[in-house]
Every structure is written in C-alpha cells, then in structure tokens.
C-alpha cells in the first residue's frame, strides 16, 4: 500500500513535469519559458525526494539542496538579463 502511494505520487509528479514542456515550447514570451524551466527544476526536487524514499536511501539528499540553489541562481540571472540586458554590470561603463 505504501509502495503503491509512492508510485502513484511519482507518476503524478512526472506527468506534471512532462507537461511543463508544453509551456516551454509554446510560451508566447521569454518569461513564460523561464517560469516553466523554474517549475521543472522545482519538480525535479520533488522527484528526487520521492525517489530517495522509494529506494530507502538518504544518499540523494544533497541533490535536493543543489537543485534548489541552481534553479534560483538561473532564474535570477535570466530575469536580470531580461530587465537590464546584461547579467554582471561593469561599473566603468557608465
């Protein structure tokens, strides 16, 4: 029963991750695609957590933290690029 619930939740999260690809391909503007990629990264965290419960090991727990940090940094860099046109500003330019 426990295994069945874990499998069902894993399938649900996998389907939702897969269907974000629709918004990633079709999204009319660039921020749509960035939102979809951010949500895919967050769903990968959930998949890693459920997999580590199913496999009964805590070896993948660092992956959760690492994916969270990488998704955040990627979204911040992309939104700064969209807003200002450059990611790391050079002070002597002004």
């Amino acid at each position: 029963m426990f295994k069945l619930v874990m499998t069902i939740s894993l399938i649900i999260v996998a389907i939702s991750t897969l269907l974000y690809v629709y918004r990633l391909v079709k999204g009319p503007s660039t921020p749509d695609r960035v939102i979809a990629l951010d949500a895919i990264g967050i769903n990968l965290i959930a998949i890693t957590a459920i997999i580590s419960v199913v496999l009964n090991t805590s070896a993948f727990v660092e992956v959760i933290l690492l994916l969270g940090i990488l998704a955040f940094i990627g979204t911040v860099a992309f939104s700064k690029y969209l807003e200002k046109g450059e990611i790391i500003e050079n002070d002597r330019d002004q």
Partner: protein
Amino acid sequence: MSVIVDFLIGFFILVGALLCLIAMFGVIRLPDVYTRNHAASKAATLGVMSILLGTFLYFYFYEGHFNSRVILGIVFLFMTAPVSGHLINRAAYNSGVKIWDKSVRDDLKEYNQKKRNKSSID
C-alpha cells in the same frame, strides 16, 4: 504506530504531488504571464515543501536519523521560490509583456505615468 506514520507520510507526499499537478494545470491553462507565475510560484512551492516534509518524516521514523539537510532544503525553497517569482514577474513587466486584455486594473502603469509626468515638470 507504524500505520499512523505510514498514513501521515503517504498523505503528505500524495497531497504534494497533487499540488504539483494543480500548479501544472495553472501554468498551462491561465491566460497571461502574471497569472501563470502566480500559479507556478505558489502551488508548486507548497507542493514540493509538502513532499519534502513527507521525506523528512520517513527518514526520521524509519531510519531514525534527523535529516537536517531536508529541513535546510525546505527552508531554502520557502525563502527563494517567491523571490525568483517576483524577479521574473518584474522583468516581464519592465520588458513590456502585455497583461491579459480582459484585466481591469493596472496600478503600476498609472504610477509610472505619474512619476514620468512629475519628472518632466521638474
């Protein structure tokens, strides 16, 4: 005891997975960037936090160790997901993405116009 713990872990993980599914439907079906971001940054965050809470309970009750990295992951996700949602929404507004044509209020536009008029008078 074991049945209660099983039920609790299964409840948290299943609810989190269903919240992820709801967030996906919101991102696919809502009409413009801002409403889509509203769905993605709230429902997906709560769903993944619930799944991580279920994982923490599993390791705590079955393996018997207090897995502080999962707690750190929950706290980090709770802090950063709204911030990244805010940043990408502000970047979308400032780079000129249109809001939905049936929406009735845009307070930020009036505010920006007022500020521009004041700076042109000064």
